[in-house]
Structures are given as C-alpha cells and as structure tokens.
C-alpha cells in the first residue's frame, strides 16, 4: 500500500523536519495528515497551520521551520539557506543526514520512504493537488 502523492509529500515534510533535528515522531505525522484533512485543506495556510499545531516546532526554531516549509512546498532554496544560517538554529549534522532540497513533487515516488505507521494511517487521505 502506498500513500497518495499529496499525502506522501506532506509526510515527506514531517520527515524533513525530523532529519533536521526537530524531534517530531511518526505519530505526529499521522496527526498532521489528519489535521490537514480536517482543514480541507483550502490553502497552503491550512497546511502550514496544521504543521505548526501538530508537528510543534520549538518557538526558537520558527524561522528555520518557515524556511524549510517554503523550501519543501515551494522549492524556495534561498529561504532554506537563510534558515540554515540562523545562528540559533544550527542544523544537526549527525541526525542521519539532511534530505536534499528542494525536491519537486513529481520526483517524489508516492509512499517510497513512508514508514509503515504513516502508510497505514494515511489510508483514507484524499488525493489532492496542494499547489
């Protein structure tokens, strides 16, 4: 069983945060997908607010979160670089490696890297174009 493309892309963002040391766990990814579904989503703002509420980035890392969000969903590599340079938000180098940015949606095979928990829990997620 694989995730629909839209859900896989959302789950990919949660994994990206995890790989940069935000400390979120797969259980939160499931909640994130549920939250996006509950909100519609009607806009990227819904997705951003769902991510803030469920993946719970630490307040002192909000700038880095915003940069990664823009990089992941809009392919804004400059924003990602800005976030990386923030002296208070050093990216952990030993956390299993940072995923390449940006990753175009088309090149991300649905569900390829999703954990079994994420795959199971997102079973009911509707396929939807996010951009």
């Amino acid at each position: 069983m694989t995730l629909p493309v839209a859900a896989a892309h959302l789950a990919g963002f949660a994994r990206l945060l995890r790989s940069t040391g935000f400390g979120n766990v797969p259980e939160q990814t499931v909640t994130f997908l549920d939250a996006v579904r509950l909100l519609g989503p009607r806009s990227m703002t819904d997705i951003r607010e769902a991510a803030l509420a469920t993946l719970a980035p630490q307040p002192d890392r909000h700038r880095e979160f915003e940069a990664l969000f823009r990089a992941w969903f809009w392919g804004d590599a400059v924003a990602a670089a800005d976030g990386k340079d923030d002296e208070e938000t050093q990216v952990k180098e030993d956390g299993g490696g940072r995923e390449e940015l940006p990753v175009p949606e088309e090149s991300f095979p649905a569900g390829e890297m999703a954990s079994s928990t994420e795959t199971l829990a997102a079973g009911s997620f509707r396929t939807k174009t996010l951009t």
Binding site: V25, L39, E49, L52, A56
Partner: protein
C-alpha cells in the same frame, strides 16, 4: 439529536474565531486553528507563551463557548497525585469504622473519595473543561503522571479499578516556557505558541476589554506597551496590564490630568517591578510622547 456546543463551536476555525470574538477574546488564526484541531482530533491543547499573553484567558473563554465548567489545576513545584487525581478522606473513613460497630462497611465508597481536578473531569467529561495551568512549574515526575492521564483519559484507583472518560474531555495546558517540557508531552498535544499581539490587535483588545477608553488612547497605549516590552525588563507587561493602564490613565485624565501626564501617573499599574520601574522612568516621557504622536 441536536448538535452539542462542542460540535457547533468546532464547525470550522472561522466559526471558532467568531465565537472567541463574541466573548471579547481576539485570537489570531493560528490559535483558532489549534483550538479547532484539538477539539476535532480529541487531543489536549498546549498553549505556550510569555506571561500575560492570554493563555489562561483562552481556556476560560473556551469553557464559556463550550458551555463547560472550568476545572483548574494550578501547577507548582512539588504538586503530586493527591492534589491532581484523588485522595481518600482518612478522617471520615476512621469515623465511619468507629460508628459502624460490628457492621461491615465499605471504606472505599464514593463518600470517602475526594475527587481532585483530573478525576473531576473524568466524571463529567462533556460538562467540564480541564485547565492544567503553568505546567512548567511542576517537576518531571508530575509531567510523567500527566502523560499517562493524557494518553488514555483514565485513572486507575487500586481500591476501585479504572475510571475512564466516556468521551474525550477538552484539556488545555499552559506553559510560560520557564523550562522545556518533556518531548513526549509536547508530541501528545496540539500546540500553539501565543505571541504578544501586534499594536493594532492589542489596541482592539484594549477597546474590547477596557471600560470607557477612547480609540486614540487604546492605540497610544498599545504602541507604548510594545516599546516597553522591547526593553530588558524582569517582568514585561502583559495584555491585562495594558488594559489596566488604559483604564487608569482614562480615569486620571477625566479627573483633570492632561494626556501625557495621565499616562505617566498611571504607570504603576503597568510596571509592577521596582527595578523595572527605576530603569523605565527616565525613558517614559519619550516613549509616551512618541506613542501619542
């Protein structure tokens, strides 16, 4: 069956935002979305932010909107299960044993059980909202105890068995972030960081909450308070202090003090730390005049 207050309020984040506004709580979109998600996902809501940004008030207003009684558990260093869960009333148990003579009595009857906030909420989960206030004041052991409660919404009383909530209660936790909470606790909650409002929204809050304050006064107060919060103060003023300042300055102005003077004379309701006051006084005239400009 008619929809419950919970279902009506949590129809959408926009409905919640409007209901909060009706209760004179001017939230931003992020907070309304977080409350909506907490209700709809059946998860606790964790509100973090500096003291005085309106975290506790958000829970109180939410209880009103959902037509629930607010059950507040104020955390402090050393708080334990007996204060949060339940206690047996030993004196009453002893008295009952003495009075019973040869009769057998159940000393673990409801009569002898003192329900503390967490148990109170489990007993009526759709009629009570639990506020766990200033969780960062408690210690790690208490956080672990809460984690168990927030996972299953049940309490095990060895003498009585397990008491579980029939429906998931609404639980709001607040933290001033004086220390990091356990990651496990953060992960279990829907999270929102409440920041100080921008000057325009704070002026709107002052207008909504203060008694008889002119719009220009509210705008000036909001601007000045923003400047004051940017200073390195031990206790930066919260929103409620800004409202008090607006009220006090208005009263003084009506009593005959001209405007800049009324702000300066009422400063005691805004800044309550003596060292902060000494630091601020030399700059106050300039801050007030700039805000009034």
């Amino acid at each position: 069956m008619s929809p419950s207050a919970r279902e009506i309020a949590a129809a959408s984040p926009e409905v919640l935002l409007a209901r909060l506004r009706e209760e004179r709580y001017l939230a931003d979109d992020g907070l309304a979305t977080a409350i909506f998600l907490a209700i709809r996902l059946g998860k606790p809501l964790l509100l973090e932010g500096a003291p005085g940004v309106g975290k506790t008030e958000a829970a109180k207003v939410l209880a009103n909107i959902l037509r629930c009684d607010l059950v507040r558990l104020q955390c402090y260093e050393g708080i334990d299960a007996a204060h949060a869960l339940y206690e047996w009333n030993y004196q009453r148990q002893l008295l009952a044993i003495r009075q019973s003579g040869d009769r057998e009595i159940d000393i673990y009857d409801d009569r002898f059980l003192i329900a503390r906030p967490l148990l109170q909420v489990l007993q009526a989960p759709d009629a009570r909202l639990l506020l766990i206030d200033e969780i960062d004041r408690s210690d790690h052991e208490f956080e672990a105890l809460l984690l168990e409660f927030l996972s299953d919404f049940q309490i095990t009383i060895p003498e009585r068995g397990t008491i579980a909530a029939k429906v998931r209660p609404i639980v709001v936790l607040t933290s001033n972030r004086t220390r990091e909470l356990a990651e496990a606790l953060r992960r279990r909650c829907v999270y929102n960081w409440i920041d100080y409002p921008d000057a325009a929204r704070e002026a709107e809050i002052i207008m909504a909450r203060a008694g008889d304050v002119a719009e220009a006064t509210a705008a000036a107060i909001a601007k000045a308070v923003r400047q004051i919060r940017a200073k390195p103060l031990a206790k930066p003023p919260g929103i409620s202090e800004a409202i008090e300042w607006a009220n006090a300055a208005t009263v003084l102005e009506k009593g005959g003090s001209p405007w800049p003077e009324a702000f300066r004379r009422a400063i005691g309701v805004l800044v309550k730390d003596e060292e902060d006051m000494q630091y601020l006084l030399p700059q106050l005239s300039r801050i007030v005049e700039e805000a009034l400009a």
